[in-house]
Symmetry: C2
Subunit: 281 residues, 2 copies
């Protein structure tokens, strides 16, 4: 496995592979890889001849008051996980490599980026779309893998790829959870012991909501209220949002029938965690 | 030569060429091809194994009060010119092929799109960047050719390609002019006989400005005033702008030294024409 920092070096390797007719799988990450990322990497290794993982904490997707400076980083740990999983290249560019001083372009959309996490993180998805457009143009993969934990991101990326005609198959992969149900996340490392214990309420409340729908509840507001009440029982939680929207266009759902996403974001002090479930028709 | 309307059909042909190691030149146009376009096509034919011309009047780059409905179209004439010039494929998609009902993504930038034509055409370059991102992803050319007549467009495209890491060489080609100096444009067909005669003032005034700089004038405002006065002498002209900006970043120039673009847009009644010169250090 190689760790490549320069764009031209990566391009050159990829062009060689393309000439040999190799397929390329791509897993874009911000590093600090956990079992969730590993599930994407494993699938990419299984489905493609060559696999590239990008390991880049993208400044453009963090708001001015967000956790860019403290976002956890550990290249050695990431490299070990990737090497063992059969990754061919980690792309590890410096911020200056990705964003020159003159940089001013962006990719965004008028619809899916506005609600859910887009409300409290207004520039987040612009940053995500822009860095992914760049990475897609650099890596030119056949397939790219995203976790469903960031369901809005998955929907946004699929929409961008369709709208802008990237010739890439976007593959969404299931949420990987800790034993007690907490969705795996690099940000879980921010939690105190007490918060870590409290955080189990997210998956628990979502499970209750899902069971209500499966039992026939069609009113989204009733499901949302149940989830919110369950979360509010736990001290130290502050709900950012609990919403039910259509999948994959993320419009407010007036019924739980059809394909829907039920997503939430909850603060534990300054740590903001997300989780969700999708019901596809 | 083939005329292809469907994206997948074009992609399939291009993938075959790529496998054969062929280089691909691309000339994006809105059709109604004239000698200006032909100069781009000729160069593309000369420098690449295969050449694709897109012929698509892009609704996204027209403002609500602009000339989308009346923009001249003539596929037969375009096909004849392309065939004779040695083009391999005309890509001629329907608007619905390029923009589905759910379409909502865009590409834009915070800098180069704001001044010059961007002032009176605030959504124009967003439309240009977006359709070009789409076309670049569909055609995946090695080289793409743009006329310098639309100098701001050329600068914007180069900047977008650099920022978003499209692996494409953007080649700017000189302005092609009528015998009396008027820059070739599909919009020249809108001009009445009288307006057509008046329109020669644009190239004439720019030539005066260029000669002032070559004779040592360093004050952009003096050059601009001379050009404006010359144009105002002609009845029926209404200046949108005459500006001197740095090249290629399009920032207001405080001196005519260094690389600069002197650009103008002038109305003849409702017909808006553009012209410019670039001095590169």
């Amino acid at each position: 496995m190689e760790i490549i920092e320069r764009i031209e070096e990566l391009r050159s390797q990829i062009k060689t592979w393309k000439k040999e007719g190799k397929t390329i799988g791509f897993v874009p990450t911000m590093g600090y890889l956990h079992e969730g990322h590993k599930s994407l990497i494993d699938r990419a290794v299984k489905e493609n001849d060559k696999v590239v993982v990008s390991d880049f904490v993208n400044p453009m997707q963090f708001g001015p008051k967000e956790d860019l400076a403290t976002y956890p980083r550990d290249l050695d740990m990431d490299a070990k996980l990737c090497e063992e999983a059969g990754v061919d290249i980690i792309f590890y560019p410096a911020a200056e490599t990705m964003y020159k001083d003159s940089f001013s372009s962006f990719v965004d959309m008028n619809t899916l980026t506005k609600g859910l996490c887009g409300k409290t993180r207004p520039i987040h998805f612009r940053g995500v779309c822009t860095v992914l457009a760049k990475l897609f143009n650099i890596v030119t993969p056949d397939r790219a893998y995203f976790g469903q934990k960031d369901a809005q991101q998955l929907a946004v990326v699929k929409h961008m790829v369709e709208d802008l005609n990237f010739d890439i198959e976007i593959i969404g992969c299931p949420i990987i959870r800790e034993e007690d149900g907490l969705a795996k996340s690099s940000r879980n490392t921010y939690l105190s012991k007490e918060q870590r214990e409290s955080a189990v309420v997210l998956s628990k409340a979502l499970k209750m909501g899902k069971e209500m729908i499966e039992a026939g509840e069609v009113n989204p507001q009733k499901v949302i209220s149940t989830i919110e009440e369950e979360i509010k029982k736990v001290q130290g939680t502050k709900i950012d949002y609990v919403e039910i929207v259509t999948w994959p266009y993320l419009e407010t759902a007036t019924t739980t029938k059809g394909s829907i996403l039920c997503a939430l974001a909850v603060y534990f002090d300054k740590v903001r965690l997300i989780d969700n479930f999708i019901i596809e028709e």
